[in-house]
């Protein structure tokens, strides 16, 4: 599996997404017909999803292919070798467009009310200006959620990703109590979600399908990383807020810009949210300086009630 995904990656980089997907499908061996057969294969979901190819153009591929070959079982608990996934969120670019959330929900087949990315209007003090704060799971390096799990259903991997095994989770919600960042959500009822296509096995790497009575959260899309494809939240953002990449490669990208991780976080004085809690998050924030948008732009797609609530939280009086 490892060699396979590596060669997949190189092909992908050389030939672009098309060839990458071909190699991958060849590796999987199951959906080969999708390429050679002009008719759409029956295993396709029919739903298309937008992805960014390395040449900078958006392409649409079938959703089914995005979950082509995630690791299952013990391998899914190990992590992708030699990787350490990190994210840098540039607060100066965020205008609360919420396209990342739409992309995430589409990718993970989530109903609209299950939100793995949350948006806050933060204001550090009354003298400072409010700013939008999109928040995925922080994938902490000292994760409080993993510590307290009684059955090891949530676990930290060597590639820095914290995942949930929905087949093992007993639904005690202790991890939700332990997470100081409200990153975890619970499937209170039966999730309204597309079922897994026939013949596919559940993998914690895809977080699909969600199961009633278990916990869910942003998973940093490890199945996409295996294929060298950027997660949907990164590519869906119209402003390039999210930079995602491998810390071991010292590189992060938002799809259009690929930069050195160390240079980005050092030059722009990145910080980790509530570092003082000792959780060592894997998500870095660039301070909201020289902003592209006024924070009020973020109100335009919200209902008046939502705007009121945000203003209340951020102590905005006018």
């Amino acid at each position: 599996m490892e060699k396979n995904s590596n060669s997949t990656r190189r092909n992908f980089l050389k030939l672009g997404l098309a060839a990458g997907a071909t190699a991958l499908i060849g590796g999987g061996g199951k959906v080969l017909s999708a390429v050679s057969n002009p008719e759409p294969a029956s295993k396709e979901t029919g739903e298309k999803v937008k992805l960014l190819s390395p040449d900078g153009t958006l392409v649409e591929v079938d959703k089914g292919h995005c979950h082509a070959c995630p690791a299952t079982g013990k391998e899914a608990r190990q992590g992708i070798p030699n990787k350490k996934m990190v994210m840098v969120v540039d607060l100066a670019r965020c205008r609360n467009a919420r396209k990342c959330l739409e992309g995430c929900q589409s990718m993970h087949h989530l109903p609209p009310r299950i939100e793995w990315i949350k948006f806050f209007l933060l204001r550090d003090s009354k003298d400072t200006s409010p700013y939008w704060f999109p928040k995925p799971c922080f994938q902490c390096n000292n994760p409080p959620c993993v510590k307290v799990c009684p059955v090891g259903a949530t676990f930290k991997r060597t590639d820095g990703i914290v995942l949930i095994d929905n087949d093992r989770c007993i639904g005690c919600k202790f991890c939700m109590a332990a997470c100081p960042y409200s990153s975890r959500v619970f499937n209170w009822g039966e999730p309204e979600q597309a079922a897994l296509p026939e013949g596919k096995k559940y993998s914690p790497e895809t977080s699909w399908p969600q199961k009633v009575g278990t916990v869910g959260k942003c998973d940093f899309c490890p199945d996409m990383v295996r294929q060298g494809i950027l997660p949907n939240c990164v590519t869906a953002c119209p402003n390039g807020v999210y930079f995602y990449g491998d810390k071991n490669e010292d590189t992060v990208t938002n799809g259009t810009e690929t930069v050195r991780f160390s240079e980005l976080v050092q030059q722009k004085a990145a910080y980790r949210y509530m570092e003082e809690l000792g959780t060592e998050p894997g998500v870095y924030y660039l301070p909201p300086v020289n902003r592209l948008f006024d924070y009020k732009v973020g109100f335009q797609d919200l209902t008046p009630e939502e705007v009121e609530l945000y203003k209340q939280e951020a102590n905005i009086s006018e």
Partner: protein
């Protein structure tokens, strides 16, 4: 085994309550069974639909189930701590209330944990704790602690019942043969021989000692479930002793209430005297004062420190629009009222003590609610959910029903137990206080007791059924395509000498560019006269078709020295035809690396292939250097080629793979002359990845830190050693009983 007349007479008074349930008893059972039936329906609803039927949501993830859990484990302290301590201190007045206290422990420890199960999303996976259990999790500590505690309190209760069970065996009740056989079986052949008596007394003392630290540990672990999180109002070092104290406080309160109820319904005025209420009342008062002191200390520290989140929780507690009245009841009335009522001798009476206990017990339930809910409503990041049920918690009818069900089962079990064994021990251990006891017994109103005799049938059993629903749905969307325009884009790619033609076929649909899949694209090169067909390709799901050019093309080049490639798409019923072309010159690129002192330089040689096949150095074109990364190419520099050469300083801080290998790509991008041409070479100049440091046995790992494992093993084996010893000794007592019986029989025979 001989019993004195007083014991027999004493038993006569209890016989009626053991032999009949009574009119009111049946009425009570009917009501309890009705509540339990209703609760079973609520349980069915929750199990079939998920916790969506509760008031719990993403922020307030724990609700009254967890409050009930702490509450029931709290009141179980009555038996464990109070009776344990009273027994060890040889407090003379303890005897009539010991069994009630121990029964409270057993029944509460049975009911309490079931609320944790209700609070779980996947009840049917509870066995995962056994096979995947992680010792680092306080929930697993709780599983160990509570199961051990439950066993311990069963043993404790049982040991204290052995004498009465033996008595009941010797004096069968009038109804139910099966009950007499249970008495016989459970009395463990106890015949009060000196050896048996000695062993039993030893055991009771031993288990009393073991049960006290065990009980303290149980509630500490419970407090740590909250204390180990980083939440305001929970993350407190005094939480464990605070919980322990609150537990004894509520346990004493419940014991007073139980005493009061049984004193009334079984007319035990002579056995349970005002003194019992006064002593326990004074204990309640002291515990109330201590509990108040802890409460004050906790909130004062939070208020004085005035950390943002602590203040938010405090604000919720002190704001009349949220929890002020509840907080006022639990932290002010629930402490001050019992103290005042009991401390002032003028106010102190059985009724006021019972009232004080009632206040204390309800206040402590509210306190558990206030520990859980306001903290969960105060996340560290702001909470702005438009759904009111997500922002604020209100228990649903299901939660209330199951709470009522728990209380009903608790009361029913207690009541049924009081029908099985006298709720006050009949056979006394200590002969000194036996005398006082029987003096009191004479005062009991036998006449009233006898009225309670009724011939009745036994209560029926209720079975709960569990249903799991599986939900599967799939949707396939099929759409009819309309005839549309297609667009083809041809790109030339020279990758390390391999030349490829990439054609991308797309169409516009609803203002969106969509790739066309499964279409045939033909690739051509311009020959001397006509276009020469090179080959055909089928587009994949990204709309791309690829053709790899042969090593040498036998066609002339145009005046600019370029090959002229083109691609066509014939079109179909749905899409119009389209074509695209690309004119490129062949290039040859080579990457080498040179190192002088500390300077590491990447050297690129780039030449055009001239008309006669000769090499012409490239001049003035821009070449970009990349390093391939997981998702994209990382640009490390760009240079203008001069005289066929371009040099770039290697960025020395760049990490490579585990041995430092790093592929370097030099690339012309969409160059007007060369299209896209690239060359890759690998050099071990990258910083090698540091070896992965895997911390085993950390808090977040599968295996627990060794000290935790050792602590758990030592604690558990200490406790279980004593439990095992107790069980073995019970069998020894049984064996001794058999010998005594045989001796007695042979004695009678020889006579």
């Amino acid at each position: 085994m001989e019993y004195n007349n007083k014991t027999l007479k004493n038993y006569e008074d209890f016989k009626p309550q053991l032999e009949s349930i009574g009119k009111y008893g049946y009425f009570f059972i009917t009501i309890m069974v009705a509540i339990i039936a209703w609760g079973t329906y609520a349980l069915y609803i929750q199990l079939s639909q998920g916790q969506v039927v509760t008031g719990m949501r993403d922020y307030v993830i724990w609700g009254i189930y967890d409050a009930n859990f702490i509450f029931f484990i709290g009141i179980s302290y009555a038996g464990a701590l109070i009776s344990g301590i009273l027994h060890l201190m040889r407090v003379e007045w303890r005897h009539p209330i010991l069994r009630m206290a121990e029964t409270i422990t057993v029944v509460s420890t049975m009911i309490g944990p079931s609320y944790i199960f209700l609070s779980m999303g996947r009840l049917e996976r509870v066995w995962h704790i056994l096979i995947y259990g992680r010792i680092q999790s306080p929930i697993v500590w709780d599983v160990f602690a509570i199961s051990t505690y439950l066993i311990g309190s069963f043993i404790f209760l049982y040991l204290a019942c052995v004498r009465d069970l033996a008595f009941m065996r010797d004096h069968p009740v009038g109804v139910g043969r099966w009950r007499n056989s249970i008495y016989k079986f459970m009395s463990a052949g106890y015949r009060d021989t000196p050896k048996q008596r000695e062993l039993l007394n030893q055991l009771i003392d031993l288990i009393s000692i073991v049960i006290i630290p065990l009980a303290i540990l149980v509630h500490s672990v419970l407090a740590w479930i909250f204390g180990m999180t980083l939440r305001p109002g929970w993350h407190s070092t005094i939480f464990a002793p605070y919980f322990v104290l609150a537990a004894i406080y509520s346990g004493t309160g419940v014991l007073i209430l139980v005493m009061f109820v049984f004193r009334k319904i079984y007319r035990l005025e002579a056995v349970i005297t005002k003194n019992h209420f006064t002593y326990l009342g004074l204990l309640l008062m002291i515990l109330g004062a201590l509990y108040g002191y802890f409460t004050f200390s906790e909130y004062l520290t939070n208020w004085y420190g005035s950390v943002k989140w602590d203040m938010e929780v405090l604000h919720r507690l002190f704001d009349s629009s949220t929890y002020w009245w509840w907080f006022f009841f639990s932290a002010f009335l629930g402490v001050l009222l019992p103290i005042i009522l009991i401390a002032l001798p003028r106010l102190r009476s059985i009724n006021t003590i019972v009232f004080a206990a009632l206040i204390a017990v309800t206040a402590l339930w509210v306190k558990r609610y206030l520990i859980i809910i306001p903290t969960l409503e105060t996340p560290l990041l702001p909470l702005h959910d438009m759904r009111p049920e997500f922002a604020n918690y209100a228990p649903s009818w299901v939660e209330w029903s199951l709470t009522a069900m728990g209380i009903a089962i608790w009361m029913l079990l207690f009541f049924l137990f009081s029908k099985f064994l006298p709720i006050v021990p009949v056979v006394r251990v200590n002969s000194a206080d036996e005398r006082d006891y029987f003096k009191l017994r004479k005062l009991a109103k036998d006449r009233i007791l006898r009225r309670m005799i009724r011939k009745n049938r036994h209560a029926k059993k209720i079975v709960a059924s569990v249903l799991v629903l599986l939900f599967l749905s799939s949707a396939v969307v099929c759409r009819a395509e309309d005839p549309l325009r297609s667009r083809l884009k041809l790109e030339f790619l020279n990758s390390a000498g391999t030349r490829m033609l990439n054609a991308k076929l797309t169409s516009k649909k609803d203002d969106q560019t969509v790739p066309l899949q499964g279409m045939q694209v033909s690739f051509f090169v311009q020959g001397a006269k006509d276009k020469v067909l090179l080959g055909k390709g089928t587009t994949n799901d990204a709309g791309k078709a690829t053709f790899t050019l042969p090593g040498k093309l036998d066609v002339p080049r145009n005046t600019e020295g370029k090959y002229s490639y083109s691609a066509t798409y014939e079109g179909s019923k749905e899409y119009q035809s389209s074509e695209s072309s690309a004119d490129v010159r062949d290039v040859f690129m080579n990457l080498t690396f040179s190192q002088t002192d500390s300077a590491k330089i990447i050297n690129l040689v780039a030449v055009e292939i001239g008309q006669k096949g000769d090499s012409v150095p490239i001049d003035g074109s821009m070449v970009i250097f990349y390093v391939p990364r997981t998702f994209s190419l990382l640009k490390i520099g760009e240079q203008t080629i001069k005289g066929g050469h371009a040099d770039l300083d290697f960025p020395v801080t760049l990490p490579g793979d585990s041995v430092g290998n790093l592929p370097i790509i030099a690339k012309f991008e969409d160059n007007e002359n060369y299209g896209t041409a690239e060359v890759t070479a690998t050099i071990a100049w990258g910083k090698p990845l540091p070896p992965l440091v895997v911390i085993k046995r950390g808090l977040g790992d599968t295996n627990a830190p060794l000290w935790m494992v050792y602590t758990l093993i030592v604690l558990l084996s200490l406790v279980w050693f004593h439990f095992t010893y107790a069980i073995i000794t019970i069998f020894r007592i049984r064996h001794l009983g058999k010998i005594a019986l045989l001796e007695e029989q042979s004695h009678t025979a020889s006579n």
